[in-house]
């Protein structure tokens, strides 16, 4: 690690060190320009990569965005603080509850609102359940992209279904949960619901064991992913990569530990780190984080206290924060999800900005893909774990 640290000190002094490198085509092959997407199934939505190929090798790759753009930020400026919460569900539609959480956190910073203890516990429980299902699903899709049609993905969907049933019981909706409010949560969890969560969480370690036994030492998976799409740690930090993508490169930066937001200080958990920063590490980090999330869930379910779920002083309808601004961020399953709000004292935010982890993690997509085979691009993109609803907003 000392070696790479000194290396980075030297590297960062050179101008342009953080740009994608130039690759010369070898031989006299003509370059083939291919538009991968926007309707390619491996792009997980509508996303295009304009690729220049020398044989099978990637010489250049330019991502093209905007197919799902609906100017979410302008919508946020045109409506009240409360009305934006259901819209945040639609950013990263796999993890609607963590989107709610990040937005609620930013508004709480803007208005100086406290959150009661039970609401914090409920947030942690639903947030970590979201992380479990997101990581299981993203690993499933990665293996699906590799050609293992069905089996691992269906294992993931089986567990996700149980978690989504819990979300439906609590919030009334499976995916568009609209659950959190600034100052707490919308509805309280019943004792039966908590027992249901305990039951599902008790079954998760067996699922993790099964998933790991099925995948981790699979020969084809190892051959396809190890040493592919390497992301050096200095570049990962400089390019703003966050979440499992950053930690797979060996950088210890988990906002749950760094920012001490919510009540994560009370739980004992570890931050898994990768060594090589390749696709295999990213896959492995997600499985390890899934185990840590189960561990957090077990602790939270054990100590959840009674009490109110809303700050009695918080004003939800007709909320007008004092002029000012705030940037709030959380560790969402895909990386650092932040909301930046400026208030001018009115009922609508003057500026409403989403810091989307999926978009910013794609900054280094070209660097990871250069020199790799075209079949590996699909895997590298799958290992970044994007949702286009958040990339394009």
């Amino acid at each position: 690690m000392t070696n790479s640290a000194t290396q980075s000190a030297i590297n960062t002094q050179v101008e342009g060190w953080n740009r994608p490198r130039e690759i010369e085509p070898d031989g006299d092959n003509e370059l083939l320009e291919v538009a991968m997407g926007p309707h390619h199934p491996s792009t997980h939505g509508v996303f295009r990569m304009d690729v220049a190929l020398d044989g099978e090798r990637i010489i250049r790759l330019k991502p093209v965005f905007g197919y799902l753009h609906r100017n979410h930020e302008k919508l946020g400026e045109g409506q009240t603080y409360l009305a934006s919460i259901p819209y945040t569900d639609r950013l990263d539609y796999i993890c609607s509850l963590t989107n709610n959480w990040a937005y609620a956190l930013a508004v709480e910073k803007l208005g100086g609102i406290e959150v009661p203890e039970r609401a914090e516990y409920l947030r942690v429980i639903v947030g970590e359940l979201t992380r479990v299902q997101n990581h299981a699903l993203s690993v499933g899709f990665l293996i699906q992209d590799m050609g293992a049609s069905g089996t691992p993905l269906m294992y993931a969907f089986r567990e996700r279904e149980k978690i989504l049933d819990l979300f439906e019981q609590l919030t009334g909706s499976r995916m568009m949960c609209n659950y959190m409010r600034f100052g707490g949560c919308r509805v309280d969890a019943s004792a039966e619901w908590l027992d249901g969560v305990r039951k599902v969480v008790a079954g998760l370690p067996a699922f993790a064991d099964e998933y790991e036994a099925l995948l981790c030492t699979n020969e084809i998976l190892m051959a396809r992913t190890q040493g592919v799409g390497i992301l050096p740690p200095e570049l990962a930090v400089n390019a703003g990569a966050t979440g499992p993508l950053l930690r797979a490169s060996g950088v210890n930066y988990d906002l749950r530990k760094v920012d001490h937001y919510s009540i994560y200080d009370r739980f004992d958990f570890k931050v898994p780190l990768g060594d090589h920063g390749d696709v295999y590490d990213r896959f492995m980090i997600r499985l390890l984080e899934l185990r840590q999330s189960i561990w957090i869930l077990e602790q939270a379910l054990k100590d959840i206290p009674g009490g109110p779920i809303m700050d009695p002083k918080a004003k939800i309808r007709g909320f007008r924060p004092k002029p000012g601004e705030a940037y709030g961020r959380i560790e969402a399953p895909k990386g650092e999800l932040g909301f930046y709000l400026i208030s001018d004292g009115g009922p609508n935010p003057y500026r409403y900005r989403v810091r989307p982890p999926s978009l910013i993690n794609l900054t280094v997509l070209e660097d990871m893909c250069l020199g790799q085979n075209v079949a590996d691009v699909v895997l590298i993109l799958g290992s970044v774990d994007i949702v286009l609803g958040e990339v394009d907003r």
Binding site: F65, A239, P323
Partner: protein, 226 residues
Amino acid sequence: MKTVEEIKAAIEAAVPGAGVEVMQNPGPSGQHSLLLKPEHALEVAKFLHDDAELALDHLSNVTGVDWPDKEIAEKVKVTRQVTKSVDGVEQTVEETVEETRKRVEPGYLEVVYHLFSVAKKHGPVVLRQRTQNRSDKVEVPSLTPLWRSAEFQEREIFDLFGIVFTGHPDLRRILMWDGFKDHPMRKDYVEPDDFEYEPTAHDEVLKRAQEHRARAGAAVGEGAGQ
């Protein structure tokens, strides 16, 4: 971590004449910011990035804010000479009158950067840059050469706000298509009239449909409602 005032002092010691201004945030979050001058922005940013104590290596969020021209109405006391007849004699008297004057405060576009440190695990340090106006002088220096994470976010600001980042390696539209003309995130943006109005029997809809047909030519809107 250092407070903004301490960071400002450190910047001014390292970059003479940097002219950094502290912008107070009145809200309870306490995230005060530093306003950079465009001519020293890159030097200051480089100092913040390389300084061993601050080590702000993670540029998390870059965003634009539009502050349009503001019309401010002020009440001013004006003394002027008035001719009056006092006791039947014409006299010039000085009189103080209150008058409302309107003054236009020029608007500008603003870029906000949120910096954190992965190495030291602190932050945020908030930087701001402002353009001279909202129409023709909209250049600010790009910080992409220092932090690669600004690449797509500055492209997005260029696209949606129309701020031009000098020194950006690949400044193109990112979310809107290349032929698009306007900047949708500006406060005075007007949506283009490219709808097909259903001629329902509401007066205002019929009126809009008529205007739309006149603008877009007879071909558009024909056959609607048949």
